[in-house]
């Protein structure tokens, strides 16, 4: 009885924290794909929200559903994707709230695709057409989302290229994607994504393919731009170090579910979910060369063999009991902004 009251109180205070109009609010997002092997669940009941100027790290390994979740925010998933009825994504633009999943016409979708929401990808070669100069593509992007003339769009594009640290921008703007190095291409992609001044930037593994010294430069750039534009960023990565350096809050995903979410210091220094703990323990750390490398035991289940109950139960080393393999744990707020989906915390204790 007391524990129920405690939990309710915590939830109410959590509600107070997030009630200021979030920039993007995702509720119960569930997404399945029709494939030859059957209906595969990619994302299962994911909810989160993000405010302006906040950087959220979306962490997960392969099969976690992080990319699919991000693409849903721009309604970019392929046609064999099926959203369940309760899934809802609300984007609060200046013109009012927009229900992203109900958008169908290209005119409406422009708002989420490149307008208020922009996306940058892992492979910069993939987002630039190889036979058109970068300048032309950036100008095209600007003109699609505004009434600018070509001259105006060109000026703004050169400005953006300069802002992201590309030297000699008025010459570079007429170059082709293959003429730039990996790091510069990524910067150019960031410039293109930001030229429409989006409110939300989704970065899908933007630095994974880059050398570590270039990655450091690009991460610095993104942090500066967040401050300058007051953008929100969803930073998708599998690299917890990158998250620790850039994000304000972290969401850890496993097999389509959010298993833990909270402020970055809390999740990294005091992880609660066994998967988060396992992930942090498996990382080779430079500050302790003697520590053994402890992998998370087992393998990620194939999407055809989704476990009943808690999705992590097949590999968990801290099983609470029978309940783990039979019932899906709900998300519990253990702190005003830190929640975990684990049976170990369901009874009110931490």
């Amino acid at each position: 009885m007391v524990s129920v009251m405690l939990r309710t109180r915590i939830r109410i205070s959590a509600g107070k924290v997030t009630v200021m109009s979030a920039l993007i609010d995702v509720r119960n997002l569930t997404l399945k794909f029709h494939t030859d092997e059957g209906l595969i669940t990619a994302v299962d009941n994911v909810s989160f929200s993000l405010n302006r100027g906040e950087v959220m790290g979306l962490v997960g390994e392969s099969g976690s559903g992080k990319s699919v979740t991000a693409k849903s925010l721009m309604h970019l998933n392929p046609s064999n994707a099926v959203y369940t009825g309760e899934s809802q994504i609300t984007l609060n633009t200046d013109a009012g709230p927009v229900d992203v999943l109900s958008l169908n016409r290209p005119a409406d979708l422009k708002v989420v695709r490149g307008g208020a929401v922009s996306m940058i990808f892992q492979e910069p070669m993939a987002s630039f057409a190889p036979s058109i100069s970068i300048g032309k593509q950036m100008i095209e992007q600007l003109q699609l989302h505004s009434d600018m003339s070509t001259q105006q769009a060109r000026e703004i594009s050169i400005e953006m290229l300069d802002r992201v640290g590309i030297s000699d921008p008025s010459r570079r703007i007429d170059q082709y994607a293959f003429e730039l190095s990996g790091g510069m291409r990524q910067r150019a992609m960031i410039a293109m994504a930001l030229s429409t001044k989006p409110k939300l930037l989704i970065a899908d593994e933007p630095t994974t393919a880059l050398d570590v010294t270039i990655q450091a430069q690009v991460l610095d750039l993104m942090k500066d731009l967040v401050k300058e534009f007051n953008m929100a960023i969803i930073f998708i990565t599998h690299d917890l170090g990158v998250v620790a350096q850039t994000a304000d809050k972290v969401s850890v995903m496993y097999l389509g579910r959010v298993v833990e979410e909270g402020p970055v210091r809390e999740v990294i220094n005091k992880p609660k979910h066994p998967y988060t703990r396992g992930l942090l323990a498996a990382l080779p750390r430079l500050d302790d060369l003697d520590a053994p490398l402890t992998p998370v035991p087992g393998d990620i289940p194939s999407p055809l063999e989704r476990p009943d109950g808690c999705v992590f139960s097949t590999r968990c080393t801290e099983i609470a009991g029978e309940i783990c393999s039979s019932r899906i744990p709900l998300e519990e707020w253990i702190d005003p902004s830190h929640r975990v989906a684990c049976h170990l915390y369901q009874k009110g204790g931490a």
């Binding site: 029709h34 030859d36 092997e37 392929p78 046609s79 064999n80 194939s302 055809l304 063999e305």
Partner: protein, 383 residues
Amino acid sequence: MTTKAENSDLALNDQKAKEAYFTASQRQLVWARFKKQRAAMVAASVLIFLILAGIFAPFLSPYDPTIAGRNKDYLNGAPNIPMFCDKNGCSFRPFLHTIERERSLKTNFRWVETVNEDKRRYVEFIVEGSEYKLLGFIPGNTHLFGISEGFIHLFGTDASGKDIYSRTLHAIWTSLQVGTIGVFIAFVLALVIGGVSGYYGGWIDSILQMITDAVRTVPAIPLFMAIAAFIPQTWTAEMRFFFISLILGLIGWPTLARRVRTHLLTERNQEYVLAAQLCGASSSHVIRRHLLPSFTSYIIVDLVISFPYMVLSETALSFIGLGLKDPVNSLGVMLQNVTSADVLLNYQWYFIPVIFFIALVMAFVFVGDGLRDAADPYSDISR
């Protein structure tokens, strides 16, 4: 509520299905994906049906399709559709009415036909008739159906009295033969030339590519005109037939060769090929064990899709008189006479074979498309 036993049964079946998926070879996976496409499966059934119809043409048709089997009394005759009931009652066996012709003073000595509705001719099944050789060497004389008296022409007859139905079935067989020979020749040449080109690269590739492009630019119609002029009159229809197939193959290989080459160029840089080479595998081992299996599925698709092109090329050539001629039967040959206004206005049944050929070509195309979608792991097959 399912019982525990049923649950474990379901689990066992589930397990078996998953194991089957894990141990499925590439070929089995492609076949499983192919089966899921309804259009392709329907097309495959149609294709098999038509192929069988072609193979067993002599058995399925009541008459010899050449001049020898013609009906002198029924030139340009309309199709005879058997019926089950007439004013005299119904019967289980289908029958036709007899057409009697008479010429007399009364009709000004013109042939006048009257239908005698009282005289029935019953359609008989499994009858003995003219002799034939199935597939060219199995002798027989049994036909699927015939009629007690006179002739039955399901699709009517042409200007010399030949049964169009029999001709159609035989024509399917001829076209399939031409297509097979042509595709086979093209395929062998494409494999060798494209294979050497793609595997070795470098200057061998450049030279072979020049040859390939040169052959591809040869214009078909003038080439066949020249050939038609040079084929000696003394050649039999069969020899002519094989020669035409040969030529079709010889100018058809460039497209296939290019596909083989492209595929080899990409595959030979794959890491698993390098892994084999690092073990010291010889070129022939790499080609046999790794490269050839990797594009078998694509080549099968290419073969199936090239087939209708061969068939249509032969049809076009025969139609304008540069390909096959009587007595060898093919659609092109059958269409040689349809251009006169007479036929277009009065003898529309000449066009019935066209329907069969459209069906044959479309079946190939759909099956080929289906195979390609099934073989390509990145295609988006919508449900």
